[in-house]
């Protein structure tokens, strides 16, 4: 399609959509065309929702989950104060665990794994906050749901070593976690949580 002034805005939208995970130039083009045809029903509500999330979405100051307030719903709920804290690499892992609906405690999102070569240290990973929370929220068990990669395991060992005064467990081995929980079905997540072992 030729790009002239009359289509420049649409082309720009297609280009932005094509950068989304799971979309390519072709599917982005189809999606945009679809939206334009359903302007009232889909395009405008989408624009409105994007705008609102764009101004309100932020990380929970406590756990790193993404929500629209300073503190996310899970951290705000007294019911979730079970004394169990599940440590994940990414928000996607947290959401996957929530979808499975088996874990009743709270979360802590690290935002990555330790990697000296990539200059990611404990300070970059909300690990100091994790240590504070364990004391402040009377945590009795920290469940590590980190990847089986070398960086994921280094991070697990690191945290276990820093948290000497609380029980630290890890999801059953052989379960691909760490940004990958997202791809697991609920049953697998449930099984991995049940079969957690002490570190």
């Amino acid at each position: 399609m030729a790009t002239d002034d009359s289509t420049a805005d649409i082309e720009r939208l297609i280009e932005l959509m094509a950068r989304l995970p799971g979309l390519g130039p072709r599917s982005a083009r189809r999606a945009v065309l679809h939206l334009i045809k359903k302007r009232q029903l889909q395009l405008l509500p989408l624009a409105e929702a994007l705008h609102r999330v764009g101004t309100t979405a932020r990380e929970c100051l406590n756990c790193g989950n993404i929500g629209t307030g300073d503190v996310c719903g899970i951290c705000a709920s007294e019911k979730r104060a079970t004394g169990e804290l599940c440590v994940v690499e990414d928000v996607a892992d947290l959401w996957a665990m929530e979808r499975a609906g088996v874990f009743k405690g709270r979360y802590h999102v690290l935002g990555g794994t330790l990697s000296a070569l990539d200059a990611v240290g404990p300070e970059e990973l909300r690990i100091p906050q994790l240590i504070d929370r364990v004391a402040a929220e009377s945590i009795t068990e920290v469940i590590l749901a980190l990847g089986a990669t070398i960086d994921g395991q280094t991070t697990a060992h690191y945290i276990a070593d820093r948290l000497q005064d609380v029980k630290v467990t890890s999801l059953a081995q052989g379960v691909p976690v760490g940004g990958e929980l997202d791809y697991l079905d609920d049953g697998t997540i449930t099984a991995a949580l049940k079969a957690r072992r002490s570190l």
Partner: protein, 370 residues
């Protein structure tokens, strides 16, 4: 009957080969042709049917045929204990090496599970006199042939060590971070050491039991400056104890990455490095044959052997003996030499390929026994 061999090998846009197709049976493959024809390139292609960077230790982008630089591909029908696997390894232009086994994407480590390939190349002639790296690699190839998971343990150890080295270089002092990495290095490192000890044991007993004309080498493992503990706990403690000196050096000074393989020519009681050029070569051949015999015992099939220019360095008697031992083993040995006469003693116990160069493109032709 041989349990491990290639029945078909194709190379496309691989180094000097634009397209080469080799149909073979389980017998050894004798390859001859002038210098620069593309013989070693053919062996290198076969060496990529195992994990790693092949017999020249090259990067994926070096394999691509220049000047086209379109990406390359090697495919093979690999017979392994009565099964036939279709193995493919390739890289797109500028991409990493990929593997497919029986039409499914696979890891390089999976290659090590179905096939075993061992090689001797002229660059290894100086193995006993140069640095420990070459000997360690030789040992790790043997270890990998006995324990395919050796690749995984080695990679884990190396990766964790690179992380630790970075901490050392950056003068990071966080003991928990070192501890977490040392734990992983110790776990993987103990496995690496166990696999290497197994390899040494296997090579020693295969040499002892064999009727061979090649000399026996007494093998042992050593570590510079200090005795290396071989248990996981021992390694972890040793690494922790060594942090101070490692910080000063800016890298990890102890560990399996510094192990050396020592060899003594038993009949003379002389260290391999002090042996004559011919004796040093004979020791290597002896170890490769021992490795092959040990594998035959262990998994029921000898490995595929790649022997680049071995014939050239042996006198006629030794050459005949080598061929006899290879044929007795039933190994599909891919051997190169500049002239067909180097393989005369093999007769029709082998199949023959002539490789020639045509203005920068290799061509491969099947030949009758000379």
């Amino acid at each position: 009957m041989s349990g491990l061999f290639l029945s078909r090998l194709t190379l496309s846009h691989f180094r000097s080969h634009k397209r080469a197709v080799v149909e073979s049976d389980a017998r050894p493959v004798a390859i001859y042709g002038p210098n620069g024809a593309g013989k070693t390139n053919l062996l290198e292609a076969v060496s990529l049917l195992t994990p790693g960077r092949g017999l020249r230790r090259a990067a994926a982008e070096d394999f691509v045929r220049r000047p086209e630089s379109l990406g390359w591909k090697v495919t093979a029908n690999l017979h392994s204990l009565g099964h036939i696997h279709e193995v493919e390894t390739f890289a797109e232009a500028g991409g990493a090496r990929q593997v497919r086994i029986d039409d499914k994407a696979a890891t390089q480590i999976a290659l090590g599970q179905i096939g075993r390939v061992l090689w001797l190349v002229p660059a290894m002639d100086r193995l006993w006199i140069e640095g420990a790296d070459g000997r360690r690699r030789f040992l790790d190839r043997a270890a990998l042939s006995f324990e395919p998971r050796h690749a995984e343990s080695s990679v884990t150890y190396e990766k964790a060590m690179r992380e630790r080295n970075r901490l050392l270089k950056d003068m990071v002092r966080d003991p928990h971070w070192y501890g977490a990495l040392e734990q992983q290095m110790a776990e993987a490192g103990a496995q690496v050491l166990a696999n290497r000890r197994l390899a040494v044991e296997m090579l020693m007993s295969a040499q002892t039991e064999a009727a061979t004309a090649f000399p026996m080498a007494d093998l042992s493992l050593s570590h510079p400056d200090t005795e290396l503990p071989d248990t996981e706990d021992g390694l972890r403690d040793a690494l922790a104890d060594n942090r101070r000196s490692d910080l000063a050096a800016g890298r990890t000074l102890i560990g399996p990455h510094r192990t050396d393989l020592d060899a003594v020519f038993r009949a003379k009681g002389v260290a391999a490095r002090d042996c004559s050029t011919g004796e040093q070569k004979a020791l290597l051949i002896s170890l490769i044959l021992a490795n092959a015999r040990a594998l035959e015992q262990m998994i029921g099939m000898p490995p595929i052997l790649l022997l680049d220019e071995v014939a050239a360095h042996l006198d006629e008697g030794r050459r005949a003996t080598l061929y006899d031992e290879i044929c007795a083993l039933g190994a599909q040995a891919w051997m190169t030499g500049t002239g067909a006469e180097l393989f005369a003693e093999l007769g029709d116990r082998a199949q023959y390929l002539e490789v020639t160069d045509d203005a920068g493109t290799s061509s491969v032709t099947m030949k009758e026994a000379p």
